[in-house]
């Protein structure tokens, strides 16, 4: 029987003087199965996907030897567009891939390239939108990060290839969206599709995966007991901290509303944030979490309503959003690329740090000391995110806002990142506000959690609420 994807004795590096990413590696994915490609951040998962789709070495150059076959055919010498007529691909960074104005046009693009007749394109758009819970007429620019991710997956599902390759498709997806995708993939696998998925959120995909491959030191190894492998890598991370002691007010949002066009993203919301507490914001994609975080951080102004701050002395209590404010308030964006600008990781951390010695300590604590001389933009997504968090945390802010800090982190990395953030929190006594969909670290990153729904606080509670919400009980 023909394998859907086959790598045999593959060796690859990004240049003659570069270290090997893969060395004599091999793996197979059969039709009718979902295969998980796992491994630590920067170990080579995206490289495997690039090799399968022909992106490497055709577009991204490198030194390659071995065999990569898709649907039984050697892909060597074939163009990406030719290979991808057999392989539906979902790449990382969904928002960078959108060309068209509406969801419908974006999904139609791939179908047009496949020369499907118009009636079939219409059918496929309906099918993909239904699967991914999208409205065909929705404007692509108005979609949230998670919805954009769903759109790019819908594009791949719409073109209908029987082999699907997905690179971190659950990044930025809420639990419901992630389960929706995994159920769809499982159904497709049941119909004979082959699915290769590179992902860190093992807790979500655990019940759906048929085989697990992990990359380590250039080798791709099949896990013998996939259930124990998945369990080991999806355990809830314990919280080493007790309940917060200080209860001084840091920020208070009074009847805050924020609209985009005619739509209220935040709708008459009241919220108090105290010094020394860790607040977790939960909610579906598009529920207003990032907007609320931006309002609390002073990056957006409420319209109407007001947000009082008790962090820096000011004539008015409202957030000044100036240099003094951002000295005390750290914001880590969903996309780390915006905040990294120094020539090396070390200088990036030193830039915000109160002293060189403290920067050194931060580099060690965030486990990025081995990357100190690398350019921040040359790192993998997961590593970049760690560096951006470290760089902001180095300035010892009184309030730290973290928007999806765990995306792209492998389990070991996630565990150490969570522990480091909690240690720093205990030392500084500041407030930490986190947005995450990751059940493995959510409870460890909060004392209090709030669920947002349609721009309002739907429910608030503690760790238990976070656990219940992220396991789908709420």
């Amino acid at each position: 029987m023909i394998n859907a994807i086959e790598l045999d004795n593959v060796t690859f590096s990004y240049g003659h003087d570069q270290p090997y990413v893969l060395k004599n590696a091999g793996m197979t994915v059969c039709y009718g199965e979902i295969a998980l490609l796992s491994g630590t951040s920067g170990e080579g998962k995206s490289t495997v996907i690039s090799l399968v789709t022909g992106i490497a070495p055709n577009i991204v150059p490198g030194v390659f030897s071995g065999l990569v076959a898709v649907d039984g055919q050697n892909v060597s010498g074939k163009r990406v567009s030719e290979i991808c007529r057999n392989v539906g691909v979902v790449l990382q960074n969904a928002e960078e891939q959108i060309i068209h104005r509406t969801v419908e046009e974006e999904i139609a693009f791939g179908c047009e390239n496949m020369a499907y007749p118009v009636w079939e394109i219409e059918k496929r758009i309906d099918y993909a939108c239904k699967l991914m819970s999208l409205s065909p007429s929705a404007l692509a620019s108005k979609l949230s990060g998670g919805q954009k991710q769903r759109l790019m997956t819908a594009c791949a599902l719409g073109t209908g290839q029987r082999i699907l390759v997905l690179d971190e498709p659950l990044a930025n997806l809420d639990r419901q969206g992630a389960l929706l995708l995994m159920r769809t993939l499982k159904e497709l696998a049941g119909e004979g599709y082959a699915v290769l998925i590179a992902e860190h959120r093992l807790d979500v995909i655990m019940p759906y995966v048929d085989s697990v491959w992990s990359i380590k030191d250039g080798r791709i190894i099949k896990a013998r007991d996939k259930d124990s492998y998945l369990r080991e890598n999806s355990l809830e991370i314990p919280d080493g901290l007790g309940l917060p002691k200080k209860r001084d007010m840091a920020i208070r949002a009074n009847d805050v509303t924020y609209c985009a066009g005619n739509r209220a993203i935040i709708d008459g919301l009241n919220l108090e944030l105290f010094r020394g507490e860790r607040l977790l914001m939960l909610g579906e994609n598009g529920s207003g979490k990032t907007t609320l975080m931006r309002l609390l951080a002073g990056l957006n102004k409420p319209q109407p309503g007001n947000i009082e701050q008790f962090i820096i002395p000011s004539k008015r209590a409202y957030i000044p959003a100036d240099r003094r404010w951002f000295k005390e308030v750290g914001v880590v964006y969903q996309n780390p690329s915006y905040q990294l600008f120094m020539p090396t990781v070390e200088e990036e951390v030193i830039y915000g740090a109160k002293s060189r010695a403290y920067a050194e300590e931060i580099l060690k604590r965030f486990d990025i000391i081995h990357l100190r001389s690398r350019h921040p933009h040359s790192l993998s997504q997961g590593q970049k995110r760690r560096v951006s968090i470290a760089a902001v945390a180095a300035s010892q802010p009184q309030i730290l806002f973290l928007d999806e800090p765990t995306v792209g982190q492998d389990y070991a990395g996630l565990k150490s990142l969570t522990e480091t953030l909690n240690q720093l929190h205990a030392e500084t006594g500041g407030a930490v506000v986190t947005i995450t969909h990751d059940i493995r670290c959510a409870a460890a990153l909060c004392d209090r959690s709030v669920i947002l729904k349609s721009g309002k606080i739907h429910e608030s509670g503690g760790k238990e609420l976070a656990r219940r919400y992220l396991s789908g009980e709420v």
Binding site: S81, E96, E105, A115, L299, F341, H377
Partner: protein, 226 residues
């Protein structure tokens, strides 16, 4: 270009381009005649009735503002009322010529060009170019904001200011174009003669005949009046 000025059903894109060129050329040629203002009025009304309401309002506001500025400047320099009116006519011609562009979603233009079997690389390039300006604006704003959050927004520290502005911006633009190119190719786009379909091709309809007739009448009346 902003999506809120798009018409729901714009006229056939090539007709829109032709109307745009006609308004500009005739407006500049007949700028010294008062009749040109009737022509502008009629053309504006025609665009308005054809569904370009938001674009028409935006253009009218711009034309009034710029017209006033140019009229005042010209009058102050020349002390000549006809010269000031001619200046108003010229700036109005430019503003009015923009209307079809403001009201037409780029995808609509691209689809009509695809239906005419123009090379796909040209058509896709055009689509990406159209979306690039708003994207660049959005990215620049995001980088400026990120600079503020990292305390790198002060122009009194120019080396950091430029690093924090340029490096993320360049990296983002390079990353977007790389990812976009990969995404387009992995979705089966090729430059060779592989067959493809045009989803919802745009071709002229009854509305376009009415628009052409109306516009032709405006031009004839302008020329006859002279």
């Amino acid at each position: 270009m902003s999506s809120h000025t798009y018409a729901k059903k714009p006229v056939y894109p090539l007709l829109g381009v032709a109307a745009s060129v006609s308004v500009l050329v005739l407006g500049l040629l007949f700028a010294k005649s008062l009749a040109v203002f009737y022509f502008f009025g009629a053309a504006w009304l025609l665009f308005f009735c054809m569904g370009y309401r938001r674009a028409c309002i935006a253009v009218l506001t711009a034309a009034l503002l710029l017209g006033a500025v140019f009229a005042a400047a010209t009058y102050l320099i020349s002390r000549n009322v006809p010269a000031a009116l001619a200046a108003v006519a010229r700036i109005t011609a430019v503003c009015l010529a923009v209307t079809p562009g403001l009201g037409m979603p780029p995808s609509y233009l691209v689809r009509s060009l695809s239906a005419l079997k123009l090379p796909r690389v040209l058509v896709l390039g055009m689509l990406i170019t159209f979306s690039f300006v708003p994207l660049l604006r959005k990215e620049a704003a995001q980088v400026r904001e990120a600079m503020k959050t990292r305390g790198a927004g002060s122009i009194f520290n120019p080396s950091i200011f430029y690093r924090a502005l340029l490096i993320p911006l360049i990296v983002r633009i390079a990353s977007i174009s790389d990812t976009l190119a990969l995404s387009v190719e992995t979705r089966g786009f090729t430059l060779d003669n592989t067959p493809y379909t045009v989803y919802k091709p745009v071709s002229p309809g009854a509305k376009d005949i009415i628009f052409t007739a109306g516009f032709a009448v405006c031009i004839v009346l302008l020329v006859l009046h002279l």
